[in-house]
C-alpha cells in the first residue's frame, strides 16, 4: 500500500482501472467472437473513437471547471455541414485551410457559449441546451438551399480519401491519420492541463471556485477560454466528422455531446469539477468505442442496446467515483502526511549526531 501511494496518484489509479476494464472487455469478447483479434477490429474501433475522443477533450476542459457543454454535438454538426457545403463548391480548398475554417467556426460558436456562461452567469446546462437548439436550427437554415444534405460525391478528391489515409501499416493493422490527429490532440490537451498555468487554473476553479476567486484568478476569463478552446476542438471534430462520413444529413453529430459526456465521466473526469485528465477521457472514449463495436458484432443482443448500456455506464461511473475516489484521496493524503512525519522524525534523529 505504502509503495503504491508513493508511485501512483489517485487519478492514475482511476486511469489504470479504466485501462483494466478495456482489457477485460477485449479479452471477454475475444473469446465470444471469432475473428476478433484482427487489424480490422483495430481500424474500426480506432477510427470510431477518433471523433468522440476529440469532442470528449472539449467536454473534459469545461467539466474540470464545473461546467458542461451539451451543444458540442450541434457545433460538430454545423462545422461539418458548413465545411461540407464550402468544399462542394470550392474544390481548391486544401486539407489544412479546411481544418482551419472548421476550427474557426467552432471557436466562434464556443465563444458564444462562453460569453453567456462566464460573463452572463447563466448556468452551463441551461445555456448549452439553448444553444444546442439554436445551432441545430442554424444547420437546418444553412443547409436548406442544399436540400438539407451534403453528398460525398460532390466533395473534392482529397476529402473523399482522407479517411483512409494511414500513417503506418503493419499487415492488416492500419494506423489512420485521423487517429493520429486525435491522439495528438489528446496529448496536447494533457500537456496543457499538466504544465501550463492556465491548465492548473482550470483545476483550481473547478475544485474550489471561492478559493480561486480569493486567490485572484480571473474565473470568468478562465471559464470563457475553456469554452473557446472547447468550441475549437468541436470544430476540429466537425472536420473529422465530415471527412469520415462524407454524406451528411441535418442530424449530423446528434448525440455526440452525450458520447463525450459519457467518455469523460467513464474516464474519471468529475463532472462537478476539479478532477480528471485528458488521458482518462481518452481511455473512457476507448472503452465506450470498444464496447460499442463489440456489442454490435455480438449476435446475442440487438445493437439497439447501445444507449441503454451507455446511460447505465455513466451512472455507475459517477456513483462509484463519488463513493470511492474520495476515500482513495483520503488514503493518499494520510500516506503523504505519514511520509512527512517520518522525514521530520528522521531529520530530528539525525540532528544531535551532527
Amino acid at each position: 500500500m505504502k509503495f503504491i501511494t508513493r508511485i501512483l496518484r489517485p487519478e492514475q489509479v482511476r486511469e489504470l482501472v479504466t485501462l483494466f476494464l478495456i482489457v477485460i472487455i477485449v479479452l471477454g469478447f475475444g473469446t465470444l467472437l471469432t475473428d476478433y483479434y484482427t487489424g480490422r477490429t483495430f481500424v474500426r474501433v480506432s477510427t470510431s473513437i477518433a471523433i468522440i475522443a476529440v469532442v470528449a477533450m472539449a467536454q473534459t476542459l469545461v467539466a474540470i471547471t464545473r461546467n458542461i457543454d451539451l451543444s458540442l454535438g450541434a457545433i460538430v454538426g454545423f462545422c461539418a455541414f458548413f465545411l461540407g457545403v464550402q468544399l462542394s463548391y470550392h474544390h481548391e480548398i486544401g486539407p489544412v485551410p479546411a481544418a482551419l475554417i472548421a476550427i474557426a467556426i467552432g471557436t466562434a460558436m464556443g465563444m458564444i457559449n462562453g460569453l453567456i456562461i462566464a460573463y452572463g452567469r447563466v448556468p452551463a446546462i441551461i445555456t448549452t441546451i439553448g444553444t444546442m437548439a439554436i445551432y441545430r436550427t442554424a444547420i437546418v437554415l444553412y443547409s436548406a438551399p442544399e436540400g438539407g444534405i451534403v453528398s460525398a460525391h460532390r466533395l473534392p478528391m482529397w476529402a473523399r480519401q482522407f479517411a483512409s489515409w494511414s500513417i503506418f501499416k503493419v499487415g492488416d493493422l492500419d494506423f489512420r491519420v485521423m487517429v493520429g490527429i486525435a491522439i495528438a490532440v489528446v496529448i496536447l490537451i494533457q500537456l496543457m492541463l499538466t504544465y501550463l498555468p492556465y491548465g492548473r487554473r482550470l483545476y483550481a476553479i473547478g475544485s474550489n471556485p471561492e478559493a480561486a476567486r480569493i486567490a485572484g484568478f480571473p474565473a470568468q476569463r478562465i471559464v470563457f477560454l475553456a469554452y473557446l478552446i472547447g468550441g475549437a476542438l468541436a470544430g476540429l471534430g466537425g472536420y473529422l466528422f465530415l471527412l469520415q462520413y462524407g454524406n451528411l444529413m441535418v442530424l449530423a453529430g446528434e448525440g455526440l455531446e452525450f458520447d463525450a459526456v459519457a467518455a469523460a465521466v467513464v474516464g474519471g473526469v468529475n463532472i462537478f469539477g476539479g478532477t480528471g485528465t485528458a488521458i482518462g477521457a481518452f481511455l473512457g472514449a476507448t472503452l465506450i468505442g470498444t464496447l460499442d463495436y463489440s456489442l454490435r458484432r455480438w449476435p446475442a443482443i440487438s445493437e439497439f442496446w447501445r444507449n441503454a448500456i451507455l446511460g447505465l455506464l455513466i451512472l455507475l461511473a459517477v456513483a462509484t467515483d463519488s463513493a470511492i475516489m474520495a476515500r482513495l484521496r483520503l488514503i493518499w493524503a494520510r500516506a503523504a502526511a505519514a511520509r512527512t512525519t517520518e522525514m521530520a522524525e528522521a531529520k530530528a534523529r539525525s540532528m544531535p549526531q551532527a
Partner: protein, 350 residues
C-alpha cells in the same frame, strides 16, 4: 436627477414583478396574433393552441416543483418515450390496452424511483443522474420498438387522445387543469409545498429544521416519472402512433416554460402563476410563429434563445441594479466624508 428618476421607477412596483412582464408580453402576442387572424381569440382556437402542447404543459407542472426544489429532471422526455414504447409494444404483442396503459404508468413510476433513489439517497447531482437516465430510458425505447413505428392502437386509446370528453375539452386538457389545481394547492398551500421551497433555498438548513429532505426529493422524482409517463401515453393517444424517437427533445421546451416563468434555476423561488403565464406566452408565441409560416425547427431555435434569455435577462438586471446601488452608496459615503462636514450639517439642522 438620475436617482430621482430611479426612485420613481422603483415605486412602480409592477415593473419589478416578473409575472407582470410576462403578462404584458402575453397581451402583446395575443394582440398581434388576433390582429393577423380574426378568429384567434375564440374558445375553440385557444383550446386548440393548448391541445397541441398539452403533454408538455402537464410535465411543466411537476418540473416546476423539481426546479424550485433545486434539482432538474432532464429525463422527462425519455420517460415519455419509454411509457409510449411500453404501451405500444404491449399492444403490439396482443395484450389488452388497459394492461398496457397500467404497465406504461408503472414504468414511469419506476423510472422516477430509479432517478430519485440515486439523487435523494445516493446524493448524486440530479443533472448527471437524469442525463444518464435520459440516455438510458431512450436506449430502452430503442430496444423495445427498434426502428419501427407502432400504429395499431385500439379505438378507445385514439378517442382518449383525440375526442373532446367534456364540452369542448379533450382529456389531456382536463388532466392539465386538474393537475394545475392540485399543484397549486400542494405547492402554495401545503406543508409539503413549503418543504419544497425550503429545501430549494438551503438543503442543510432544511435538514436541521427537521425536514425529511430525502423523502421530499424521492416523492418529487417519482411524481415526475409518473406524470411524464402519463404525458407520454396522452401524446401517443393524440398522435395515434409512436416511434423510438417519440417526444425526443421535449425537455428543452418544458424547462424553458418553467424558467421563463420566473422559477430560479438554483431553486428556492418561483410561483405556479409565473409558470402558467409563461405557458400562455410560449403557446401563443408558437401559434403566432406558425401563423407566420415559421417552421417548427426555427421555432425550436427561438425557444432555445428564450430559455437562455429567461435566465440571462434577470441576471443582467440584478447586476445592473447592484451596480447602481453600489454607486449610490459610494456617493452617499463620499458626501459624509469629513467630520467637519458632518458637524456643519448638524449645526444647520439645529
Amino acid at each position: 436627477m438620475l436617482s430621482t428618476r430611479l426612485a420613481s421607477l422603483r415605486r412602480m412596483q409592477f415593473l419589478r414583478s416578473w409575472e407582470a412582464i410576462l403578462f404584458v408580453l402575453f397581451l402583446i402576442t395575443l394582440f398581434f396574433n388576433s390582429a393577423r387572424v380574426p378568429a384567434y381569440l375564440t374558445v375553440d382556437n385557444q383550446i386548440n393552441v393548448f391541445y397541441l402542447y398539452a403533454e408538455k404543459i402537464i410535465v411543466a407542472l411537476i418540473m416546476t416543483f423539481i426546479i424550485i426544489n433545486g434539482e432538474i429532471d432532464l429525463s422527462v422526455s425519455s420517460v415519455m418515450g419509454l411509457a409510449a414504447g411500453v404501451l405500444g409494444r404491449l399492444i403490439e404483442l396482443g395484450y389488452p390496452g388497459e394492461l398496457a396503459l397500467a404497465a406504461a404508468l408503472v414504468t414511469g413510476l419506476l423510472c422516477g424511483l430509479w432517478n430519485g433513489l440515486w439523487i435523494a439517497y445516493g446524493r448524486l447531482s440530479s443533472i448527471i443522474v437524469t442525463l444518464a437516465g435520459m440516455i438510458m430510458f431512450r436506449g430502452l425505447v430503442w430496444v423495445l420498438v427498434e426502428d419501427r413505428s407502432i400504429t395499431t392502437f385500439p379505438d378507445w386509446i385514439h378517442n382518449m387522445g383525440q375526442r373532446p370528453i367534456l364540452g369542448p375539452f379533450p382529456l389531456s386538457l382536463l388532466i392539465f387543469f386538474f393537475l394545475l389545481i392540485i399543484a397549486y394547492i400542494v405547492l402554495q398551500h401545503s406543508a409539503f409545498g413549503r418543504y419544497v421551497y425550503v429545501i430549494g433555498n438551503n438543503r442543510e438548513v432544511a435538514r436541521f429544521s427537521g425536514v425529511k429532505v430525502e423523502t421530499v426529493k424521492l416523492v418529487l422524482f417519482i411524481a415526475s416519472g409518473l406524470i411524464s409517463a402519463l404525458a407520454g401515453v396522452l401524446y401517443t393517444a393524440r398522435l395515434g402512433a409512436m416511434r423510438a424517437s417519440t417526444a425526443e427533445g421535449f425537455e428543452l421546451e418544458i424547462i424553458t416554460m418553467v424558467l421563463l416563468g420566473g422559477v430560479n434555476i438554483f431553486g428556492g423561488s418561483g410561483t405556479l402563476l409565473g409558470v402558467l403565464l409563461s405557458i400562455l406566452l410560449i403557446l401563443n408565441l408558437r401559434n403566432g410563429m406558425s401563423l407566420s409560416n415559421i417552421t417548427l425547427q426555427q421555432q425550436t431555435g427561438v425557444i432555445g434563445a428564450l430559455l437562455i434569455l429567461s435566465v440571462l435577462v434577470p441576471n443582467l438586471v440584478t447586476r445592473a441594479r447592484a451596480e447602481l446601488n453600489r454607486r449610490r452608496f459610494a456617493r452617499l459615503t463620499a458626501e459624509r466624508a469629513t467630520p467637519a462636514e458632518r458637524k456643519g450639517v448638524k449645526a444647520e439642522t439645529k
